[in-house]
């Protein structure tokens, strides 16, 4: 059950990264790629009906963490206190920017929310990458199971690199999403940006992979022990390779899958660099919070697993249906966004 929950949480977070990842990517790009009211509206409309549901994957994952590994939730969230609060404020700004933008037909109003949408998306992507980097690298968890995460601690060379990786990959993902959804001048620009961002994403993948072994020398231990673990690095490379193949416009519809594969590969690899630890202590490995010592009781794990799996099965069915309703090019007729 402990291992099953580890992978369930990993799957939830990966799904979040793939789905809200393109919301954040579109947001990051919107200020620079989309110019003029029509293009900006098209960008917001491309994610408008689905962004909220996509964000729920993060909330559901958070709730699952509470019930499955409460000591990790308690330690991680209190330790990352200020960073998480800033993340919350940015998520607030991102959400209301999308929802309020089209409420008033005034250029200044729209400019304000365009900037809010773009800047908050960029910073959210950066902070999430920083957080993941700190999880991989380790934190000064003491014997009581807690740590204090100051900004000086959390913004370190490795976590800044993972932050930049997150920005690069999600920006590329957003551009690929726009290749599928946009039309006209915005589409043309999205194709150009998708091609350019591939290089940045690929470079950051290489840099962060090397950096991971520098800052976390035991990062490869699960890969040495289990051949199956290599599936994720292979997906990473596969995603990048497919991305390269999708440089031509004929492949606009497939480009999105390349960045999706990349994200799945990266997230899985990241999980495997830490497994079975969830929060690693840089002070002493006996203070690590892993899937055994930080878990709730066996019954709690089993009951919540069943309750959540059943629910998620339903979610996947109707969410797929909802996303399919909005497939294809953006239709600009809905008045709301």
């Amino acid at each position: 059950m402990n291992v099953a929950w580890f992978w369930a949480l990993s799957a939830m977070l990966t799904a979040y990264a793939v789905l809200d990842g393109y919301d954040l990517g579109v947001g990051m790009l919107s200020l620079w790629v989309a110019r003029g009211e029509d293009e900006r509206r098209m960008a917001v409309n491309s994610i408008g009906p689905v962004w909220n549901g996509n964000e729920v994957w993060l909330l559901a994952a958070g709730g699952m963490l509470v019930v499955s590994f409460p000591r990790v939730y308690a330690s991680g969230f209190s330790g990352f206190y200020l960073a998480l609060m800033v993340l919350l404020w940015l998520l607030i700004l991102r959400g209301i920017s999308i929802e309020f933008r089209n409420q008033v037909a005034d250029p200044l109003w729209k400019s304000l929310w365009d900037a809010g949408f773009s800047v908050s998306s960029l910073l959210v992507a950066l902070l999430l990458g920083v957080a993941l980097g700190n999880v991989i690298q380790g934190l000064p968890i003491g014997p009581n199971g807690y740590f204090q995460g100051s900004f000086a601690l959390l913004l370190n060379p490795y976590s800044l690199l993972t932050g930049l990786l997150s920005v690069a990959v999600l920006a590329w993902h957003g551009a690929n999403y726009l290749r599928e959804k946009a039309e006209g001048p915005l589409l043309a620009k999205a194709v150009k940006w998708s091609r350019g961002l591939w290089w940045w994403a690929a470079a950051m993948v290489v840099v962060v992979t090397i950096a991971t072994f520098v800052f976390r020398p035991d990062a490869g231990r699960n890969f040495e022990a289990h051949a199956l673990a290599w599936a994720f690095p292979l997906l990473t490379l596969g995603g990048l390779a497919l991305g390269l193949a999708c440089r031509s416009e004929q492949r606009d519809d497939q480009a999105f899958y390349s960045s999706t594969l990349l994200i799945i590969g990266l997230m899985g690899s990241a999980m495997l660099t830490v497994f079975p630890n969830l929060l690693t202590s840089t002070l002493d490995s006996q203070y690590n919070l892993n899937i055994y010592n930080a878990a709730s009781s066996p019954l709690a794990l089993r009951a919540s697993f069943i309750a959540n799996i059943v629910g998620m099965a339903g979610v996947i069915v109707y969410s797929t249906y909802v996303h399919r309703t909005f497939r294809g090019k953006v239709r600009m007729d809905s008045g709301h966004y």
Binding site: G63, F100, T325
Partner: protein
């Protein structure tokens, strides 16, 4: 109370009370929109479609603010109340992800489809997505109330030797006897608030002589629904929610009612001023024996007063007492107001009784106050317990988060939420000013 504990409590109290302003309307209005949408599907009467579409626009703004102010709360269990999460996460946490998995996905997922409009998704799918949104928001209310109910009356657990608790029964937590009527009372409160909002906007249009057809439908909806809901808020939901308090939380009951001394045939204080130092209720107006009757169905029953318990187990009496009396006082006013409205409707004078329409319009904020006051009773009345009988509030905080950090983030939230509040009022006022768009054709 240490500065740090006070800061953690203030932040959670502020963020949850501000957040709750939005679900109060979301849960209730979602139901009414689904109701109008269903009537349109069945009767093809375009008035119902116009109403559903108008309220959907306000719903969308309200819902967005509910979402963005709600996320901090899920995080705050960990950021500010980490020891509470570590203590009981395996038990109360059973309900938390279910809110996300069973409810949030549903309401957020289908809201996009609903807002896209009938012409985009077709009549049946539009109607179904409206139901999905309504059902999702109502369902999320249950899971979060069940989480709160566990804090009020912990069930389905056993103590660990290490000092935490572990789960002994998932079903006991899901069907906590405290949760059912707490939920019913909460939802009823939300539906009542929505009825008042619908009525208030309708009253405004009638007074301003605009959108008359929509206005009449709104005011009629409000009065008919309002009469029923105002009464069910008191009985059975309020009464039976109170019964849980009588049974499981005697100190909260005593504080709510300002009962300092244990009494056989305890009177109900309609009004009075509790004085904790003197341990007495000053200048009371009593209904003799009535508290015993309400609590136990027997005018000779004994009700325990606060003095039965040591003072360190007393909740903050004044805040609990006044919040409770504000809630009940307003609830009584709502019943009277809606009965007058129903009478006027029966006499065919409702739409022309300007004095009543003014009252309907001006009383819109009051259900919000009543709902929030009720939650203050619930949470402050539970003190000094975080989990009643198990964990004291100061023992649940995050000790690795300094008071200064929390004061800083509290100020951050205060500033951001002040701006959100202004934006919300501005945008909703604009939508009301624009009025329902009766020119949008229905789907073919």
């Amino acid at each position: 109370m240490s500065e740090a504990v006070f800061a953690h409590r203030m932040q959670f109290a502020f963020t949850v009370m501000f957040h709750y302003l939005f679900p109060i309307l979301t849960m209730g209005l979602g139901f009414f929109i689904a109701w109008y949408s269903t009537l349109h599907l069945v009767t093809k009467d375009k008035r119902y479609l116009d109403a559903a579409q108008f309220w959907a626009k306000i719903f969308a703004i309200n819902f967005a603010l509910g979402v963005v102010t709600g996320i901090p709360l899920e995080f705050e269990f960990g950021t500010n109340w980490s020891r509470f999460s570590s203590f009981g996460g395996g038990v109360f946490g059973q309900m938390l992800p279910l809110e996300g998995v069973y409810a949030f996905f549903l309401e957020s997922g289908f809201l996009g489809m609903f807002l896209a409009g009938e012409r985009r998704v077709g009549r049946t799918l539009h109607w179904l997505s409206g139901l999905g949104v309504a059902f999702g928001s109502l369902l999320s209310g249950y899971f979060i109330v069940a989480t709160n109910a566990w804090m009020q009356h912990p069930v389905g657990y056993a103590l660990d030797p290490s000092g935490g608790v572990h789960l002994t029964s998932f079903w006991a937590v899901l069907f906590n006897p405290y949760a059912g009527w707490e939920y019913a009372h909460t939802i009823n409160g939300s539906l009542l608030a929505a009825a008042f909002v619908i009525g208030g906007v309708g009253a405004f249009y009638l007074l301003a002589n605009r959108h008359l057809e929509f206005a009449r439908l709104s005011v009629k909806t409000a009065v008919i629904a309002g009469v029923i809901l105002a009464m069910t808020q008191l009985f059975p939901t309020g009464d039976l929610n109170g019964a849980s308090v009588v049974q499981y939380q005697p100190t909260k009951l005593a504080a709510m009612e300002g009962l300092f001394q244990t009494q056989k045939g305890a009177p109900l204080a309609i009004i009075g001023m509790p004085d904790t130092a003197k341990e007495d209720l000053l200048d009371p107006i009593y209904v003799p024996d009535f508290l015993s009757f309400l609590a136990y169905g027997n005018i000779h029953a004994t009700v325990d007063g606060l003095a039965k318990y040591s003072k360190d187990l007393w909740p903050p009496v004044e805040l609990t007492y006044y919040s409770y009396h504000i809630m009940v006082g307003l609830g009584t006013i709502f019943i009277a107001e809606m009965l007058i409205g129903l009478f006027l409707l029966w006499r065919r004078k409702l739409y022309s009784s300007r004095w009543f329409l003014w009252m309907l319009m001006l009383t819109v904020p009051f259900p919000y106050i009543a709902n929030e006051a009720g939650w203050v009773v619930s949470e402050v009345g539970r003190q000094p317990w975080l989990v009643y009988g198990l964990l004291m509030t100061p023992a649940g905080t995050s000790t690795n988060v300094a008071a200064g950090e929390t004061v800083f983030t509290m100020m951050g939230f205060a500033g951001i939420y002040a701006m959100l509040g202004i934006l919300f009022l501005f945008l909703v006022a604009r939508l009301i000013h624009q009025g329902p768009d009766t020119n949008v054709p229905a789907a073919g």
